[in-house]
Symmetry: C2
Subunit: 302 residues, 2 copies
């Protein structure tokens, strides 16, 4: 029996998902377990590239043919593009097809899905199980895709009340086949957590590089930047359009985190301006201790 | 002829300096070129460890014996400890001995040197050539020292008007022997540049981890933190005491950088709060383009 998986938006996320599934099934010594990966996208060139690279098996040019007999759809495009895609696919979605996504924000994607499915096809919203694979990289595009991108990485599902337990279980199983560790959060909780540990750090890194890049002595400054700066700003090499969309999609939670951080910087400024030696060392020490404990826990879990 | 090099503060910086010199001379097929590395420090245990690890050849317990016949002294302790060390060594410094340091800030170290040498031994200030090897690591201590720490890394010398050209040249040569690329800046200019590209990023990383670590849901937040967060906060695992000293030593330049960054964050907040999609993408794009150009230049230089 051949499964049909549709990947819409064959970039790093969608392409790696396709490669991970192919790789996992290739290692299963079961002739009956086959998968056909069909690519969809807004532009033709990346799909042709994905086909040439063996990431997908076929290109679909319309949703009607893409979704005929499809078992699973992964929406791999930036979150800002989800709404029109969902609206376009909704009429053609067969009753047995599950849909999930790789978007970095969830409340807005859920709202887009409710608008797309719920308005005209209310029974189909239960087929959409929202997800977020925590496996970014500053590289983007299908050329950066790799079968092990999700190995030992976390995937967060944010199930809807309308999702049948077996639908959530099926999507969970697909991600586990890709090597991921799956957990669940409510959509709004997901967005609050990732505003703090992902979206804010991206914004801070972009802001620092932008600040220095726009100065008269930028060349001198970058000339003396070293490995600490390189790692601190690695995420400032992330995709501008994708991160614009993420920041806007999760704007409210991100503004709260940004305000909390500016408050923390004001407190730090007071310590520094008053030369509060003990206060500064205490703050640095709390940070280092917590970070090192986190790294230890990560290593023990791996 | 055996050279005598004294390393005071045998941690990552001093220990790696010792190993780099030993390693470089070991590869020179010249029996006459030998070096003896003598360690000094405020506590005995790290010196014993350095001796056992072969990082140093001997331990000196007082400055009088340490400096007898010494050709070069490297001060490898945190910048906050330089002043008393310089005051203690000044009376015993022979006329031919050069002194340099590995401190991350320079105006304060120069001031400490002027106080220590200039007050009672004004002729000796010319023997001190201030320096800053740009080769941090979040690890500290002699166990983390390695012979290649400075390979292809930059070292900034901030010479004094009193330094003879041959003194500066000699210190430059020693760092080049360690594999470093040496450049020169005025002390105040050095401190302004490193406030921007090193000290501020450290402060920002400590502040973010501290902010999250002190929340009620810290465990949940760290539970979902991934590789972007890990790299962004790598420098928050730096040594709290050392970074307290650096921040305080370079307080004025760092406050200016912190204020500039908070202004940048306020502008970013306006873009986000007003959902200025084009403005956000433009800012992210400027940052990514500049960072990628910097990385390309680094790779071409290597």
């Amino acid at each position: 029996m051949t499964s049909k998986v549709v990947v819409c938006g064959v970039g790093l996320i969608g392409g790696s998902f396709a490669l991970a599934i192919k790789s996992a099934l290739a290692s299963v010594a079961n002739e009956r377990q086959k998968v056909q990966i069909v690519g969809m996208g807004r532009t033709r060139a990346p799909l042709e590239q994905a086909l040439q690279l063996g990431v997908i098996d076929a290109i679909a040019t319309d949703w009607a043919s893409a979704l005929t007999g499809a078992d699973l759809v992964l929406l791999g495009m930036p979150v800002g593009q989800m709404a029109p895609v969902m609206a376009a696919m909704a009429p053609h979605l067969e009753a047995h097809t599950l849909v999930t996504d790789g978007g970095s924000t969830k409340a807005d994607v859920v709202a887009a899905a409710r608008a797309a499915f719920g308005a005209h096809f209310p029974s189909k919203i239960g087929q959409f199980v929202p997800g977020h694979p925590i496996a970014g990289a500053e590289k983007s595009g299908v050329a950066a895709a790799r079968a092990n991108l999700y190995l030992d990485k976390r995937v967060v599902l944010t199930p809807l009340p309308e999702n049948a337990p077996e639908a959530v279980r099926a999507v969970r199983t697909v991600w586990e086949i890709c090597g991921a560790k799956v957990s669940e959060l409510a959509p709004a909780e997901h967005d609050r957590v990732f505003a703090a540990v992902s979206h804010l750090p991206h914004l801070l890194a972009f802001a620092l590089v932008h600040d220095l890049a726009t100065r008269d002595n930028a060349d001198q400054l970058f000339g003396f930047a070293a490995s600490g700066f390189r790692d601190f700003t690695r995420i400032a090499s992330s995709h501008p359009e994708m991160w614009r969309d993420i920041c806007l999609a999760n704007r409210n939670a991100l503004l709260k985190e940004l305000d909390a951080y500016m408050m923390e910087l004001m407190k730090t400024r007071v310590l520094l301006a008053s030369a509060d030696s003990a206060g500064l060392e205490e703050m640095f020490d709390v940070a280092r201790t917590r970070r090192d404990a986190w790294l230890d826990a990560l290593e023990n879990a791996a």
